[in-house]
């Protein structure tokens, strides 16, 4: 064993040379740590009647501005990736949701605007949205909050502690509910300057938005709540004006930073017995969303996700799947319909922990092949569900991606 460590120590010179070469390479890609100008929530699930899922489920979305002075506008697109059954038209994710029919994939978007005041946080449930009259700062010369129906010119004219809005407001905002229930899809918001000359924000106060999502399962009879929260992904702007509605994601060569070259998922393999409570086992859902989308012609992004899976024995497995609009799957159903035979099954992989590298390839021009994603681990079987969402890691810059606005 000691020789092994000594051998590793002798790597130093060669590795040092490598690291000198690494030092000057710039990092410019998506982030879950910093505010940005494009914010992407890759996974939104609504199933309030538990038609797909075991328990009623909704997603609470948060959008916040870090701008210290002045409003910022977000132009947003719900991406509806819900399929529909060929026999009865009901919403579906795959054929297992259709009794006797096929699940026909579909894709459409619903766009809307949100105006955020300085430093303002907003939150809404995807199934509800926020209609006019529900925004906290409805408009100038209106009392705040639920008293927006009262006109005012000073705080004294509003109920105590409510205040009269004589400054910035959410005027111009309306967030619709997701277009159907059950629903699976994503949300993309792009920072605009707001005001009369509204366009994608490439000013010195760009990159002021960030978002969060909490997928919540709950059931009244059992009186439980299972929340799973993740950070929405940000893409920072480069400061180059967008005049043609084409948002080029290509680092310093483009209008926004690149999507990652590789996504890296840390996970326990499906079926791995929980090292903390051996009565339950791990399972992980992976959601992938193409970086590119043509909202003008209603053409979703498409790419092939290549998976490279490593176990604790340094062994490597691989598979691939097409990501068309949105991909959402249990890990052990990515490569087979029989999860027990999957390379993501702990019995096949041979160890509990895994690391999966995901690379998008084969995008259809002019759209690219970049991917974004999020994971959700769960434990089962349990009477009360238990899950946790978390962001993927990333490495390197991807190729050129493109969002085309209407």
């Amino acid at each position: 064993m000691k020789k092994m460590w000594q051998a590793a120590a002798r790597m130093g010179v060669g590795a040092g040379m490598a690291l000198v070469a690494m030092a000057g390479i710039a990092n410019a890609r998506s982030t879950t740590n910093r505010p940005a100008s494009i914010v992407v929530w890759p996974k939104i699930v609504v199933d309030t009647s538990a038609r797909w899922l075991v328990w009623p489920t909704d997603t609470r979305l948060m959008l916040s501005s870090t701008n210290a002075s002045g409003i910022k506008q977000a132009h947003c697109f719900y991406i509806n990736a819900t399929g529909h059954c060929s026999n009865d038209g009901a919403g579906c994710r795959d054929a297992t949701d259709c009794v006797g029919g096929e699940c026909v994939p579909s894709w459409n978007e619903t766009d809307f605007d949100v105006v955020l005041t300085q430093e303002q946080p907003l939150a809404w449930y995807a199934s509800d949205g926020l209609a006019r009259g529900q925004f906290p700062l409805e408009g100038p010369f209106r009392c705040n909050g639920v008293f927006a129906g009262l006109q005012c010119f000073s705080d004294a004219q509003c109920p105590p502690g409510v205040g009269c809005n004589i400054g910035q407001s959410n005027l111009g905002s309306a967030i619709p509910p997701v277009p159907e229930d059950p629903f699976i899809g994503a949300l993309v918001c792009i920072q605009y300057t707001g005001g009369s000359d509204t366009k994608p924000d490439q000013t010195t106060t760009r990159d002021k938005l960030y978002g969060d999502a909490t997928i919540v399962q709950s059931a009244a009879p059992l009186r439980f709540v299972d929340p799973a929260r993740y950070n929405a992904i940000g893409l920072e702007a480069t400061g180059k004006e967008v005049s043609d509605g084409r948002l080029v994601l290509d680092g310093d060569e483009g209008k926004y930073q690149s999507c990652p070259g590789v996504l890296i998922l840390s996970h326990l393999f499906d079926g791995a017995v929980d090292p903390i409570i051996p009565a339950v086992q791990y399972g992980t859902e992976l959601t992938l969303l193409p970086c590119s989308n043509d909202f003008r012609s209603q053409t979703p992004g498409r790419a092939v996700a290549q998976f490279l899976v490593f176990n604790e024995f340094e062994q490597r497995f691989s598979t691939s799947r097409t990501v068309d609009c949105l991909f959402d799957s249990q890990l052990s159903r990515i490569d087979t319909r029989n999860p027990a035979r999957s390379i993501f099954n702990a019995g096949v992989a041979g160890s509990l922990a895994g690391q999966t590298r995901i690379r998008g390839v084969g995008g259809k021009a002019p759209l690219g092949s970049g991917l974004l994603g999020v994971a959700r681990a769960s434990l089962g079987p349990l009477i009360i569900p238990s899950s946790a969402a978390y962001d993927l890691h990333q490495q390197g810059n991807g190729g050129r991606d493109l969002m085309i606005l209407p």
């Binding site: 064993m1 460590w5 590793a8 120590a9 002798r10 790597m11 130093g12 010179v13 060669g14 590795a15 040379m17 490598a18 690291l19 070469a21 030092a23 990092n27 740590n33 910093r34 505010p35 609470r60 916040s64 430093e119 907003l122 449930y125 700062l137 400054g167 009186r223 439980f224 709540v225 890296i264 840390s266 996970h267 326990l268 017995v273 090292p275 903390i276 490593f310 604790e312 340094e314 035979r341 702990a346 019995g347 096949v348 992989a349 041979g350 160890s351 509990l352 922990a353 690391q355 590298r357 434990l379 009360i384 238990s386 899950s387 969402a389 978390y390 890691h393 990333q394 490495q395 390197g396």
Partner: protein, 425 residues
């Protein structure tokens, strides 16, 4: 023993090629979605009620050595020694909160792209290799006679020692690891990880990504040899590791607010750890921060000079003082909270440790010096990093059934000047 047969020069060449293709950034940020040389798990819990599962991975195609230390941050009041505390105001009048903040070290190694996991209460024993799981059979760890876990996988500990030591069931604190080569810090930027906190009764889990700090690979800096890790790099030019953020920001539900979909009451627990760490001197790093909150009505509240040592793990209902929270329901349903280290200097050691200062002489006697001769006297108050966790409580239900969800905080800007320091044993 497959690794012994490998040519270290070929492995070095592999690092060169891998590095050219996969280099992490030259931007001075702490991140939770990229790999780094220093990795920080700010919230590790093994208190008999909850336990934590750590996943640590090597992102590169090279063999990687890692040095880790758990920092036990349990605190007790200075006179009433059995009373646990987070900050001084948790203790009776005229008492202060004293945190142990002692470090437990261990080392491990990761082969190319290797992931490993361990349960912190039990640790995990070295197994090179243990038998793999088989299809159709349970894939699980077992407890050996010492009470430590033995799991399927190839796990490498130094001198066949315990791979990861157990922390027992009275631990709340953090885990920091850094990449090494022959015992010295090494700027390979290979480490990434996640932590899953699990309730032992309900199996409710929260998961967050560990924070990583990328290192400057330029051999002209002193990262490798001087036993001091300096977080003073902008991503360009000189410096050792990326600066900590200028501020942290996150959006929380107001403490005690009722969730519209579930009817549950939501509470948020914030965990903060200092970027600076005096491991060699076994002293807690002093932190001074300012909280500013904005609700959805554009109203602003603040906590101007909040101080703690080493570690903070506190519900918003108890900020700034126990039961006297300001980020609560009634002041708004949502709070966007910004946490910024105060631009003041404090004494890191000396008889006036923790006091504000303008020069080293203000710190009194016995001011210490770091391993690389950095005077640990009057220095900028430490930067901070953190994570948050939400608890959803259904009225009338026992707390062990609380739904939980952890999330990473956002970062704004970068510190400048001296930055932060971690002294190594």
């Amino acid at each position: 023993m497959r690794l012994v047969k490998r040519s270290p020069w070929l492995m070095g060449l592999g690092v060169l090629l891998a590095g050219l293709v996969t280099a992490p950034g030259a931007r001075g940020d702490v991140t939770s979605d990229e790999s780094g040389t220093l990795i920080i798990f700010p919230k590790v819990v093994s208190d008999g009620v909850r336990d934590t599962l750590i996943q640590l991975s090597n992102r590169t195609n090279s063999f990687v050595q890692v040095h880790c230390f758990y920092i036990n941050a349990s605190g007790t009041c200075s006179s009433t020694g059995e009373q646990s505390c987070e900050i001084d105001t948790d203790c009776p009048a005229n008492e202060v909160c004293i945190r142990q903040c002692n470090a437990t070290n261990f080392e491990l190694a990761l082969t190319a792209q290797q992931p490993v996991q361990w349960r912190v209460s039990t640790g995990r024993l070295t197994t090179i290799p243990s038998a793999p799981c088989r299809p159709g059979q349970p894939c699980q760890c077992t407890l050996d006679t010492s009470g430590q876990l033995v799991c399927p996988g190839m796990l490498i500990g130094y001198n066949n020692a315990s791979f990861v030591p157990p922390v027992g069931s009275q631990f709340v604190g953090e885990l920091k690891c850094y990449q090494t080569n022959a015992g010295d810090p090494y700027p390979g930027n290979a480490l990434k990880g996640t932590a899953t906190i699990e309730h032992l009764g309900s199996a409710q889990i929260s998961e967050y990504n560990a924070l990583t700090v990328a290192a400057n690979a330029d051999p002209q800096n002193n990262l490798i040899t001087d036993k001091e890790l300096r977080l003073n790099w902008t991503g360009l030019g000189g410096g050792e590791l990326n600066y900590c953020p200028e501020s942290l920001v996150f959006t929380a539900n107001a403490e005690g607010v009722t969730d519209a979909f579930t009817g549950a009451t939501i509470s948020t627990e914030l965990t903060l750890v200092p970027c600076s760490e005096l491991i060699e001197e076994d002293l807690p790093a002093p932190v001074r921060v300012r909280f500013v909150g904005y609700n959805e009505l554009e109203q602003q509240v603040s906590i101007e000079a909040f101080r703690f040592d080493c570690f903070l793990n506190r519900r918003l209902a108890d900020l700034p003082v126990s039961g006297g929270g300001i980020f609560v329901s009634g002041n708004g349903d949502l709070w966007k909270i910004r946490i910024s280290p105060l631009p003041v200097n404090v004494c890191y050691s000396g008889s006036n440790r923790g006091a504000s200062c303008t020069q080293d002489s203000d710190c009194g006697d016995n001011v210490l010096t770091g391993p690389a001769d950095t005077r640990l006297g009057c220095l900028p108050a430490s930067g901070v990093l953190g994570v948050a966790e939400e608890f959803y409580t259904v009225p009338g239900m026992p707390s062990f059934l609380d739904g939980t969800a952890a999330f990473n905080l956002r970062h704004e800007g970068s510190r400048s000047g001296f930055g932060d320091i971690v002294t190594l044993p």
